[in-house]
Amino acid sequence: MSVTITVNGADHALDVDPSTPLLYVLRDDLELNGAKYGCGLGQCGACTVHIDGKPAFSCLTPVGAVAGRRIRTVEGLGSAGAPGLLQQAFEKEQAAQCGYCIAGMIMRAQALLDRIPDPDDAQIRAHMQTNLCRCGTHMRILRAVRRAVALRKGTQSAQEVRP
């Protein structure tokens, strides 16, 4: 069965069972390997992508449900050569240890910054709650999100970005 999905602005016609999780299609068919398979149960957030601008667990989203809707993955925010603001901030803060959760963390954070450009610390913490990091780099991840906010405002040097 054919399903057409729009990922990072490009249309893809796929011959796939519509009940296939979006995550499998992104990784196996489109070779967008940023989003990761963590728990497969919507509990960890490693598979987070945006659907129509909102963060969603791609491991629990059937591809048939997103036909005709806008999907954005971490690859849509920038590349290794030209990283986006959050990607730069995560790199600068060395927010990744093993890195498995980071694509999901960045997409989760991006959804917040799209909605609230200048979130306070409580908003950041509340919003990031659904995503887990087994290495325990949450403090660096929070710093990276704050750094991205500061970078966007262009008002503070990175060293000043502390709560």
């Binding site: 659907i51 059937p62 048939g64 449900a65």
Partner: protein
């Protein structure tokens, strides 16, 4: 036939008489409505109460779930500020920490007990029945003393009350005296001699502090609980259906006191759905209340549907018509396979841990689809800690039309009851309330 001649003079007399009657009525009403203030006291010292009293007060407060309504999201416990949506507008809970200026720090024991029984603040103003004083007046004196001791020894927090947002004219508190004349007749609990001690303990806790029927009974137009045969026939809480606990319980497998105890203690039982929505915090409270008290509550609540349990088969047939349901709702079936089956299909990791199958989940057996739609869109957190039952939200993954297809599929596969209608509208209504990204 003599006709009354309505001269100007007659009309004037009637009008004057009517106005006088109104004034007398209003005067009498205000006389009834008036409650005097009680004198403030210096806040009691923390060592003013014996330790035994404090631990008993803590256990009773957990059963009464005081902290749930009296704490804002992410706020200081007991400092109030939580919005309580009612059909009459939004109320904000108040600060019940011992802060003298904004809490109950200068309330005497008598003032506290008057508030719990009569719904009257220390200053004499009437309190709204969102504080379930219709239940609390059934509580024994010594237990109210223990709760007072417990609250007066919590950390004080400064948090002024937020203005309520009620429809006109309900902001005028003396009107509550009229409500109380009509509906506030409950008396202190008296045990039933034909029942054993455990049942009576459960009835005392459930009818009093537990205020179970506040959500699980329907309410009349004035917002008062319906009693008698309607008691425990199901109600609504924060948009969730609170299922019937009497003989009309929607449970596929009848509740027993053992299964109710497991459910109330852990938030889930092998043959009934998980505690979601406003039931989550109730389970959180009961998971740390004394075990004997939770067993007593389970015994009493199970007795409410005992008639049904007596006649229903012990191991009823569990509806699961996957082939027919897939034929009738192929889109719903495909969505289920991609979004739900990883946890809910037979053999899934969650199912091998003994979690309830969807045929036994009450949300799919109710007349209204609200609980199913809310669970899908909003998910719910584990009420008792990380190992408890939880469900992720699907609001970002699924459109309203897809939620409707999925709910229709679930109903036809896992229930023998009539199909739900207007599912897409119901999904849109729930989504509107949820502003989270």
């Amino acid at each position: 036939m003599k006709r009354t001649r309505w001269t100007g003079r007659t009309v004037g007399r009637w009008a004057a008489g009517g106005a006088l009657a109104c004034l007398v009525g209003i005067g009498a009403f205000l006389g009834i409505a008036h409650r005097s203030g009680l004198p403030p006291i210096p806040p009691p010292k923390p060592d003013a109460f014996p330790a035994e009293m404090l631990s008993r007060g803590a256990a009773l407060a957990a059963i009464g779930d005081c902290v749930v309504c009296h704490t804002a999201d992410g706020g200081v416990p007991y400092a109030g500020g939580r919005a309580l949506a009612t059909p009459f507008g939004t109320l904000y809970s108040t600060n019940i920490t011992p802060d003298p200026a904004t809490g109950i720090g200068n309330w005497s024991k008598e003032a506290f007990k008057r508030a719990m029984r009569d719904g009257v603040s220390r200053d004499g103003s009437h309190l709204y029945p969102a504080l379930p004083y219709d239940h609390y007046r059934q509580v024994h004196d010594g237990d109210l003393d223990a709760i007072y001791a417990f609250l007066m020894t919590r950390p004080a927090a400064s948090a002024p009350a937020r203005e309520n947002d009620l429809i006109f004219p309900l902001g005028f508190r003396p009107l509550l005296a009229g409500w109380k004349l009509l509906f506030l007749h409950q008396e202190e609990f008296t045990p039933r001699p034909d029942r054993d001690a455990e049942w009576n303990r459960g009835a005392y806790l459930a009818e009093g502090l537990g205020h179970c029927s506040s959500c699980h009974s329907p309410r009349n137009l004035a917002g008062a609980e319906e009693t008698g045969a309607s008691a425990y026939s199901g109600g609504v809480a924060e948009g969730w259906v609170a299922p019937a606990l009497n003989g009309s319980s929607p449970a596929t497998v009848p509740w027993t006191k053992e299964s109710l105890f497991t459910y109330l203690r852990t938030g889930v039982d092998g043959h009934h759905g998980a505690a979601a929505g406003p039931m989550g915090p109730v389970v959180h409270g009961l998971s740390r209340a004394p075990e004997a008290d939770v067993r007593a509550i389970a015994t009493y609540i199970a007795s409410l549907s005992a008639d049904r349990a007596g006649t229903a088969p012990k191991t009823p047939a569990l509806p699961d018509r996957s082939a027919e349901a897939a034929k009738a709702n192929p889109v719903g079936a495909s969505l289920f396979a991609g979004a739900c089956a990883g946890c809910h299909e037979g053999g899934a990791p969650m199912m091998t841990q003994g979690r309830p199958g969807l045929s036994t989940v009450a949300a799919l057996q109710l007349d209204r689809p609200d609980n199913t739609i809310r669970a899908i869109l909003q998910g719910f957190h584990a009420p008792t800690g990380p190992a408890g039952p939880a469900m992720p939200p699907f609001a970002a993954s699924l459109t309203d039309a897809q939620v409707a297809d999925l709910a229709a599929y679930l109903r036809s596969r896992f229930s023998d009851r009539p199909a739900w209608t207007s599912l897409e509208t119901a999904a849109a209504t729930v989504r509107k309330e949820d502003s989270q990204p």
